[in-house]
């Protein structure tokens, strides 16, 4: 990013290749719309290009990038386009080849988990997506959200706890 900041804007392609997939996944589970997620990811990189001189090299690039992405999403949401209705289908869900004890095995479980995630309040969903899909450490999430690390620890735990409660309730293993 330092090279991009210094004017080597072509190097932004490398950053795009490295970070576009986690960004798209993050946006997808915030908006439930693949095309919108893709648009928001592109917009994030255009803003990185536009505001590159405001990046401070001594800070975490990932945290800065995702802060830009978060602003892009919030601008999008403030125009009343935060989320579309989540399609209630299992199409497109993929299963993994991991051992059975390392995954939720069935597509039905994936669909239920997706519904449970969609039902989380946006603030909880957002912090959990940062931890799970953006692979951000607590310290980095605190930097993105501009809050204390202790607050992040509590928020991530509560979000994961609530997701689990909702998932097992949908699966009929727990009272909702």
């Amino acid at each position: 990013m330092e090279a991009v900041r210094a004017g080597e804007t072509g190097r932004l392609e490398e950053l795009f290749d490295r970070y576009r997939q986690p960004l798209c996944r993050y946006f997808l589970h915030l908006t439930f719309d693949r095309a919108t997620a893709e648009d928001l990811a592109q917009e994030t990189f255009f803003r990185v290009l536009k505001y590159r001189r405001s990046y401070q090299p001594e800070t975490s690039f990932r945290a800065w990038l995702y802060q830009v992405g978060r602003n892009v999403f919030h601008d999008h949401a403030s125009r009343g386009k935060g989320e579309v209705a989540m399609p209630d289908e299992t199409r497109g869900l993929r299963s993994l080849d991991a051992p059975p004890d390392r995954q939720v095995e069935r597509n039905e479980d994936s669909a239920l988990l997706r519904r449970a995630l969609a039902a989380l309040p946006r603030e909880k969903r957002e912090v959990l997506l940062m931890s799970r899909y953006l692979d951000l450490k607590y310290e980095e999430i605190a930097s993105v959200l501009n809050c204390e690390v202790g607050t992040v620890k509590v928020r991530v735990y509560r979000a994961l706890r609530e997701l689990s409660d909702r998932f097992f309730a949908l699966r009929g293993e727990r009272a909702s």
């Binding site: 804007t9 072509g10 932004l12 392609e13 795009f16 290749d17 576009r20 997939q21 798209c24 996944r25 993050y26 946006f27 997808l28 589970h29 693949r34 997620a37 893709e38 990811a41 592109q42 917009e43 990189f45 255009f46 290009l49 536009k50 125009r79 497109g92 869900l93 993929r94 299963s95 993994l96 991991a98 390392r102 995954q103 939720v104 479980d109 994936s110 988990l113 997706r114 995630l117 931890s131 799970r132 899909y133 692979d135 450490k137 607590y138 620890k153 509590v154 991530v156 735990y157 994961l160 706890r161 997701l163 689990s164 998932f167 097992f168």
Partner: protein, 266 residues
């Protein structure tokens, strides 16, 4: 490690982001606490299950579109100024106006930030607030006349922060969109004008700016704003751009996308 500490580290533990000491402490606690072990197993199933959810992998065209816009941006930067904004003969005056206005704004701002005590004072404050807003508009106009792109960018930022830019500021922003030599200034001016969605003249001018642009990046920004505003009057301009074989590929694709969105919103 206590149960509470373990809970707060659980996501990092499941993500394998803990350092060796922290991981060892968590494992030791889990080995000795059946309650935490059960919770870690349950939340771990959910955590791992999230891996099976859709990835939202970008489509094949996404990278191509991004690279084309990036190339267009680089070409625009390399080409340097393409237009020259006409300068007023009194070249030194804008700087003096900015300096004087900032001084006055500071003095007036200091007064009206103090809470009024009487109805009379409240009226004075309203009047002063109006004067500060007028001065802010003057500063903005002066900055937009500056030679330096960074000063003009500051002018656009001032305009962006205004609640209700007057007609002259709006026209200066539209002038910047169409004629400024610097792509960043033009992009920022598009953003600032996007806030003035209630003004049909601005919407019309933004639509008319599309064919006049030589920068695909600005064309894409204009298209995005007009689609956000659901400005169906922009459809002919988007259609013309989408069908123009000489136009930049990324801008043409974005125009086709915008046209589709506008038609769907009708």
């Amino acid at each position: 490690m206590t149960c509470e500490q373990l809970r707060q580290q659980l996501a990092e533990y499941l993500a394998e982001r803990l350092d060796a000491d922290e991981r060892e402490a968590a494992a030791a606690h889990l080995a000795s606490c059946a309650g935490c072990r059960a919770e870690a197993a349950e939340l771990g199933e959910v955590w791992r299950g999230m891996e099976s959810l859709p990835e939202g992998a970008p489509g094949a065209g996404a990278r191509k579109r991004f690279v084309e816009v990036l190339r267009a941006y680089q070409a625009g930067q390399a080409a340097g100024p393409v237009h020259t904004m006409p300068r007023r003969a009194w070249g030194w005056a804008p700087r003096a106006a900015v300096a004087a206005s900032l001084l006055v704004m500071g003095a007036l701002g200091g007064r009206y930030l103090t809470p009024p005590r009487t109805a009379g004072e409240a009226g004075d404050v309203a009047q002063l607030r109006g004067q500060v807003e007028s001065l802010r508009q003057l500063v903005t106009l002066a900055l937009l006349e500056e030679q330096s792109p960074s000063a003009r960018l500051r002018g656009v930022t001032y305009a962006y922060q205004m609640r209700q830019p007057d007609r002259e500021v709006r026209q200066a922003l539209l002038y910047a969109v169409n004629r400024d030599s610097n792509v960043n200034v033009r992009l920022s001016a598009v953003d600032a004008l996007g806030k003035l969605a209630g003004d049909p003249t601005v919407r019309q001018a933004l639509a008319e700016a599309i064919p006049a642009q030589d920068s695909p990046l600005v064309q894409v920004a204009l298209i995005d704003v007009l689609v956000d505003l659901r400005e169906t009057n922009a459809a002919p301009a988007l259609r013309a751009l989408a069908q123009n074989a000489q136009a930049n590929e990324a801008a043409r694709q974005r125009a086709a996308w915008g046209l589709e969105k506008l038609e769907a919103s009708q």
